[in-house]
Assembly symmetry: D3
């Protein structure tokens, strides 16, 4: 690998609205020899129970990432300089079969991991978190999962299907991929099927920070709770964009009122600096319901903070 | 009445995007013998002074309520299990005559109240609060009104019309329907015609919590102020969706910047548990200005919290 | 069955924007003893290859049908008086499995056909035409299919899936459900995979009227071609709304420029009077891409003309 | 009056997106001594039976008229040079009372007619055509009405109201304002309440050109039919923008599929040159349902052709 | 000048949706002899680096200001009574030349200042702040600038252009127009080109309040920091609407997630009472990306608070 | 160059919504050795006089081209097989200087022409046609220009600027780039500044087909007029997307009612087969005003027909 990572297209030569639609205008993975961090898209939404459309998510987030610049003042890092970040494109996934899709994501992530130290995945619906966790688990063992979401996603089957966007964390827990005692849902809100939903999640070992907690607690207390929970374990961060209020993320599949602001989400992410974040995903961006890229921009900034947390190039 | 209320359509048999568009996929009132709580629509917007369209509000809120599930973790109740909640459909109201409309709403509410213990009304514009308060007053005497709104709605006539969406609480006070000393406006903001607007409201006896207060006060202080004000009176809750900021409720008729977030509104509602809430309405949802059901979803969740506050089935 | 069909809700009592969202404000099937024509929804879009969202189609078309009145001056019939038309609601279909969905649609259509003489189905994506044709075939033998679509939908597998929205008419032909020599595609346009696409369709026996033909031929010539083709066979009409230009139907999954106007589509349908139309569907309405119900209204009017063609009550 | 009419703001000094929002950037009536033609707005939509919002129509059409330039090549006239055209602003109309609104429009039109030779009115809903016809009748006697509309607007009462947007031409005929034998509806389509709707219109004396006729007849035949019908009578042109297909005019209150294109509407208008057009209106533009000013631009161009038909300055 | 300022059009005579589109329905400057405060538009967006369209900003903000009423309860002033406020219309600016545009804005502001004591400018993009500051400097000497923005706008050249929407405050500092030691950026957030961006701004003398500070600090602490910074200097307030989160201001050119709410922005403005505010602008409203006037209304309320801060009529 | 052109990404491996956003999913120019036809973007809109935003046009048309398949049944050619077509990306153009932009486009086109036999350019605004014509003229001598547009674009200066989106064909004629006697405007409509506009165009030598002609003439007559005009000269086709009616192309900068349908535009293009088409552009797609890619899809299909006309690989 070259000593100096190849950064985004120079905006003083090519205006930001011009040029290829890669994430943050970064080089394609094929155009660099290898990458410390690969950003890739998994355009699959066959596991969605309400509004579909997250299959268009990866390119929407890329398009919405054109304004991202190289220096992150909040984390005081230059994510594209401290690591070679590259856009690995989209995985071609069967839109008609959840099982094939899961297998393809698992194989794709495994293959991509062979050349890229860490992966930031843009979905796609939350179904894809399961195969992503499998591959992360192969590398890192049981993961401390930081799960931003309005929903628990620890439900069981739906219409007989064990693998949908409502089940990845139950399945992952069952498969032993997660160190649930160091995992936490953040941003829960909205009606549930039953009190059992919360009980079962708790029994699996997950902690929970509800949106209501953000109304009352100083953000630093919440960050502290999250950090304490994750500990010094390898952390996987999974962001369902519906953790944001519909005002901040209309473009999603199962919106619930009363959510976080993008300022709150970003601030919690920034508070993770120093933890051992090994991989991340952002899912459930459904562009057909977005307006003026509100959702896409929130997702792009979320991705940018995550990139700033993932490991840099080893020295 | 049967011992077990009939709940929403089973989402494991009929996906949430499918099936009839009743509120929360609950049974129609005609399909259950009677109801503890009737949710009904009053699609009238003839009293609107700016953007019309709230006539389409009831069905928009119903459509936006499809994701509501049976367990309310914030209030720790199962609103559809503790009471028979049913959708009583829409009232057919003359769109051309405010007077006839008010008479029809009054008659309709009285008739519906004969078989349903309490009513949750979806407007429609705020004009309809007056006849609703009349019927509530018949049952409960003077009401402590909890009025969420950007506006006072205690104005007098407009274009010579005494009954419009800007006047219901003045008229109600004049008619003795309200126990103003136990009533409060929450969410006031934006320019007024004059200092007199506030003075007159105060002279009628109303207290006020301004949006500005939410910027500075802990939410629990505000809840405490509201609870103290309402006391142990029979409480009627009237929610003009424009109490939310236009970011959270673009689909409304007289939007004002600087409003509440949906998280704030929902949290105050949850804080009312234990009060004697006897009826409620949600008004001024104008779908033509909504996007991706942002406003509709906020209204549906508001309705859900209100349903959780209304009296359950007597044991 | 009563002598006088129950018609739509009286618009002089309940304004058209009010009341339940059934097709054309007709009674629910459950509220009439049986029906000559059942309008039902099949909210399934798991077979879509590009923009999903047709699962929201049935209720969108219903909402867009509120302005339909009882007399059809173009066909000079009163479709709701000459037959009991009722809304049979939506079928609950597994969103995750094409195979289960097809089986469910087939079973559902068979069951509904037991009490309703003919069915008008609102999709959902075009995958559902296959099971619908199976049931029609059981009753009527090989069907003359009048297929309005920008696309042939006679493709073979896609991602290994034999049953998708691109394949129903190939599968139907293979299963012997169609009398292809009396069948015709109307409205074809846009790029194809290969010249073979057309050849194969022709080899299956289908005729074709291209959108280009509408630019040059008088509409009555086209109607005559279609009528001559269908002959006196039992006719099944399948309308993919993407037969319309995106200007007239933005809310669909695989839009192609250069399509029909809604005036052209409706006029061809009106020209079918006197043929033995035994069933029909309207598919591929994807509301997330619609605006101001342009697409929904076009679909609702299409449905209305089809209802006017389906058999009336036997005398 | 000065010899040279004051024209629009000079676009070489003030770009078209800048400056006051008068129709076609013409001077305000108050800024010229008097006018040959006054363009004014009547923002009233209290007579609407479905989607309201035409109260915002006048300013939307003005905003959409910014690109209108001074020379009309289709009619080969310079409408702002051959006559002083001025924007007379909006009438302040009671939004809550149809009766008061009608009286106000009548008084306003009478007053404006005192200083302006002819009026082009931008609605507002079609209710306002009645008082406009009254004032025109005072000046010109019974009028040959050229009525572009999807609907007959010759219905009787609705919810007991005799004056709504569905009744102006029945009321006008009853009041003797119209020379129905020289009047014609153009653009009719869509379902009716009953065959009687057409019969009654015919009995009142109106002729009709249906949208279906445009599919089959050369446009010049239609123009000839219209001209022959209107004859040499004083002609009033009333354009309900819903005469256009929803693709060309989504921003309206009672849209019906299968309508005219804007090219067809404009071409018929251009074909009226030489007739004695004495006044005109454009109604039912409901901006909340418009997109990218599609409807507003169609209305603005319609207005422009009408201005080119109204009498020029006497020499 | 008359003793009593002419206020907005009387809303009891002309409904708020009707009548001319001046700011807050105030009189045009031409219709009053002179003004204490002139609100004017500078529709120029030739200096934009990403989404253009702010040229349509002034009229959009005017249209969105129709609900503004005369009494400001938050500041307890009547801004239209304590001063003659008038709408001075738009400046005609060359859309093709930044240099000519800057010269025109400077000349226009100078001319307008001759008759109006203070100016509130609606942009247009941020490029225009430079000539506005030049004219303010002529009158008041070096200005304490309160700059609300997601961005520093102290960058140097872009594509060789020294004057763009990213550079006004660097140029102004270089020209000595600003008393940077009493100036402050408020609302900064999002990625930067480099750490140098912040360093250079600091070296120029600017202080900064980041959006992150709003997550942690009580609003009154922030207000106090801002007031302390501005001191008793003549203050110029420049509000780039992108200081708001995209949820609150989607209609802008370079949106960044994690921004202020409109409640926060308005509250800081209200906290400036008593300072010597001498002029203000609101820029970067790009209506093509707005929805339901969310952004326009936020800008209009911002303007209203600024008007309440600008000097009243001298007594 | 290899014998077999590299075609689009295989849609049976990567669904059409996935993968890089190149035109028609074709390879990037950098990924093939050279190309017969280069499709490239020129994202410049600094010459726009009304709605800006065409700078986002190239990527919007690319995104809207994902459904284009390899066989063109209307022209019976396989455009990606008969020639190597590749996406050459976007030119980086100074957004602030028309002069620099024109020079850059000229240089860029010249350079690209060195390796690609013909260019299909996606704008950007119509200003760019001038430098494109210059380069075409260098290769082919005076060009027969087929100019689809609502507007003449033969105006002179605007705000003193000689080079804007309203002037390219006047400047080109003055520079001798055009063989005007074999050139023709198609689709003209809407108001002009003066009768002189038409006269001057005629004096330059241009013929004209107005939109009105499409209402009356059979399409084949129009095609014949166009073919006769172009003769056997090298033809350059320039398509301003506003030649389409706003219903078919809302996403553009200077929309005019009464335009062509996309079926009409595409049919005229198909009628050009056999002519010596040497280059082409599609301009004025402004995505911020588009909806559901209506405009983008029309532009993509237009591009596809043009690609089918441009010279294939020499044998």
């Amino acid at each position: 690998m070259a000593n100096n990572p190849v950064g985004p297209v120079d905006a003083t030569q090519v205006p930001r609205y011009a040029g290829e639609t890669t994430f943050a205008r970064l080089p394609r993975l094929a155009d660099v020899s290898d990458a410390d961090i690969a950003v890739w898209g998994v355009p699959f939404d066959g596991g969605v129970s309400y509004r579909p459309g997250a299959r268009f998510g990866p390119n929407h987030v890329r398009q919405s990432s054109r304004l991202l610049r190289p220096y992150n003042p909040a984390q005081e890092v230059e994510p594209f300089l401290r690591a070679q970040v590259a856009d690995a494109g989209d995985l071609g996934v069967n839109p008609f079969s959840i099982d094939e899709a899961i297998a393809a994501v698992e194989a794709g992530a495994r293959q991509l991991s062979a050349t890229s130290r860490s992966l930031l995945t843009i979905g796609g619906d939350h179904t894809i978190a399961l195969p992503l966790l499998r591959v992360q688990h192969e590398r890192h063992g049981p993961l401390a999962v930081l799960h931003f979401d309005a929903h628990l996603d620890t439900w069981d089957t739906y219409f007989g299907a064990p693998y949908t966007h409502g089940t990845p964390f139950r399945r992952a827990a069952e498969e032993g991929l997660i160190d649930a005692e160091h995992s936490v849902h953040v941003g829960l809100r909205g009606p549930l099927y039953s009190r059992l939903d919360l009980d079962e999640s708790e029994q699996m070992g997950f902690a929970a920070v509800h949106c209501r907690d953000f109304v009352r607690s100083p953000i630093d207390d919440i960050i502290e709770r999250v950090r304490a929970r994750l500990g010094n374990r390898p952390v996987y961060v999974s962001v369902d964009i519906d953790v944001l209020d519909p005002a901040f993320a209309p473009g999603t599949g199962t919106p619930e009122a009363g959510g976080l602001s993008s300022a709150q989400l970003l601030e919690v992410l920034r508070g993770l600096a120093g933890l051992d974040v090994v991989g991340a995903d952002i899912v459930e961006v459904a562009p057909a319901y977005d307006h003026a890229e509100i959702t896409g921009i929130a997702a792009a900034h979320t991705a940018y903070e995550l990139l700033s947390l993932l490991p840099g190039r080893p020295r």
